[in-house]
Symmetry: none
Subunit: 195 residues, 4 copies
Amino acid sequence: MAKNHEQKKEKIIEAAGIVFSKKGFHQAKMDEIAEMAKVAKGTLYYNYSSKSKLFAATVTQGLNRIMEAIEENIESDLPFQEHFHGILSTLIRLYISNSEVTRIYANEMSSGIDDEVLVEIKNVRKKFNAFIETQLKLGQEKGYFRPLPPHLSAMAVIGIIDTLCSHYLEDPEHDTLEEITDTVYTILSKGLAQI
Amino acid sequence: MAKNHEQKKEKIIEAAGIVFSKKGFHQAKMDEIAEMAKVAKGTLYYNYSSKSKLFAATVTQGLNRIMEAIEENIESDLPFQEHFHGILSTLIRLYISNSEVTRIYANEMSSGIDDEVLVEIKNVRKKFNAFIETQLKLGQEKGYFRPLPPHLSAMAVIGIIDTLCSHYLEDPEHDTLEEITDTVYTILSKGLAQI
Amino acid sequence: MAKNHEQKKEKIIEAAGIVFSKKGFHQAKMDEIAEMAKVAKGTLYYNYSSKSKLFAATVTQGLNRIMEAIEENIESDLPFQEHFHGILSTLIRLYISNSEVTRIYANEMSSGIDDEVLVEIKNVRKKFNAFIETQLKLGQEKGYFRPLPPHLSAMAVIGIIDTLCSHYLEDPEHDTLEEITDTVYTILSKGLAQI
Amino acid sequence: MAKNHEQKKEKIIEAAGIVFSKKGFHQAKMDEIAEMAKVAKGTLYYNYSSKSKLFAATVTQGLNRIMEAIEENIESDLPFQEHFHGILSTLIRLYISNSEVTRIYANEMSSGIDDEVLVEIKNVRKKFNAFIETQLKLGQEKGYFRPLPPHLSAMAVIGIIDTLCSHYLEDPEHDTLEEITDTVYTILSKGLAQI
DNA sequence: TATGAATGAGTATTCATTCAT
DNA sequence: TATGAATGAATACTCATTCAT
């Protein structure tokens, strides 16, 4: 019953995503994850040897899924301006719809997690940063972007998206997703200043 | 001796700032704070009735101190462009030099803290956001800034600063503070795109 | 093995009865109960979610056991006088032989226990009072007892038994159980005064 | 200012009586007593070297006051029956009006108090028991009471009064003081059985 | 005499992890 | 493979007592 087993692992990751994002790493309880996944607590440990490992698996799988989705959604034969707008729009949409994972990414890289596991998570993060960085370098080469340090620009992009999307998720009634996207796009491409 | 007593409270807040910023709220231990402040654990509770209250006092005092410093450092009779550059530069400098507090601000608004206390902290945060928002509105009125939603722009400003400064603090050798400040200023005022 | 588990719960209740009766609710320590039951402290909490709940379970189970024993021991087809004597004698015997529980019942209904739990305990108490009250009403209907307020009479019965049995338990050498029983029976049925 | 000082000690005892009776020995906090007495906590220790000593002083003073009041209120030249009724009535009245002390007496002789202090309290108790015992012996000598063991009868008297008065104090609306007094008198003098 | 800030030993409770079944 | 009862180390918080002023 390999399928059955994989399904169970998937159910656990899904439950973990929900609980970790709602409570953060330290406040999330293995009991609650087990209950939400409808498995016994022992089963968690049967599949993931510790809370940290389960956390790492949750974040890693989640971010990889998001990155795959981004790559699928990018059409690179558009004019660069539209290409860039498309990336931001995709990023924001996926950030919102995968909020269980992105919230974790945003808030819970703090200490108290096994170093070994922390390294694993930081690597996925780097992969994510590198992806943005690549896009920015592309823009620079094409002469569309200013020659700013790409790794700092990449972080700026992520920082803006992270902050505005977190704000949106806290109170989705307050602003529309278009406003968020437009604001992000305008600031990043043209800046706050006019003329 | 009232002075002596106030000094002790100050020593506690200072120790709390260090420990909370290093470990985060849930991983910070009252024992460690007491030890670092060189007082008995009971003294912590004699002065702050709970861990949450101590946390709130630490963050509130810290952010208020930063806001005062910002206001003292702003020269508002400069041309707006330079005025804005000055604000960003001051913000970044204070963010870095008060890292014990700003790290907390950035990472630990998550759940698990008394609601009552959480509200107090969120209020200081709002005060901070409002300050940035006011500056942006001023720029819009002067015709210097585009008419973007000010509260979203304010968050974008904070998001960029937060992300880049956190990055700087994680590895201060990697980039200089000028690079950080320039990147923040350029992106925010002119955007990534050229022409 | 369910049996094993039930045995462990029983061992805990037994230990709790001994410690609570010796120390009272607030002075009883969970550590001591765990040690006496030969389980880890966590096991106490795995089975009873708090000290209050464990206390409630101990008292409730104990009083229910006593009430069952009383009902089994009453022969109601005797002449009423002997029937009443039998009840008192049974009550006293069970009070003494279940002293871990009755001592708690007598001394520890005071404050400091969760309200929810306190209510539970008071309900078992009411059940016990109601039982005595029923017997007294029966005696009144049969014309054997004076028409005194039954709930007050019931409390008087319990009060006398409680006081004399506590006295007996404090120093069992001093008086015999027969003397106690005779005194209780004589006072309650005929009063102190003669003729 | 000896007077002033004595007044302060009196204020402390009074506050202690209220707090001990409401919370019991272990749940009563020195802080609360100090606050209620409107003195600093240090002052408690300046006058009574420990919590146990303060407790002992509270109980001893209280019971002595009650015993004095009883002796003042007894008219011994009445017919014995009325004399006995008078004693019970006085006892009940004083039990109710000195509930802070009598509640302590009833519920808090349990463990956890310094042995030395416990002995002191038990001695006052014995004095109180002895007083009742003397009255009962008098009744026996006068041929009014049956020849039951006087120390057991005395405890029975105290047990009934204690239980019914505690019940009255818990819910003073439920029964009148006359009903209580009549029930106690009838049961004790004539018993529950009629003819 | 009186104060109240400071102390630290003592306690209920939590929760990741283990392991017999 | 899966379970869930059992564990015990870890931790926030309490409060009688002390003592410098």
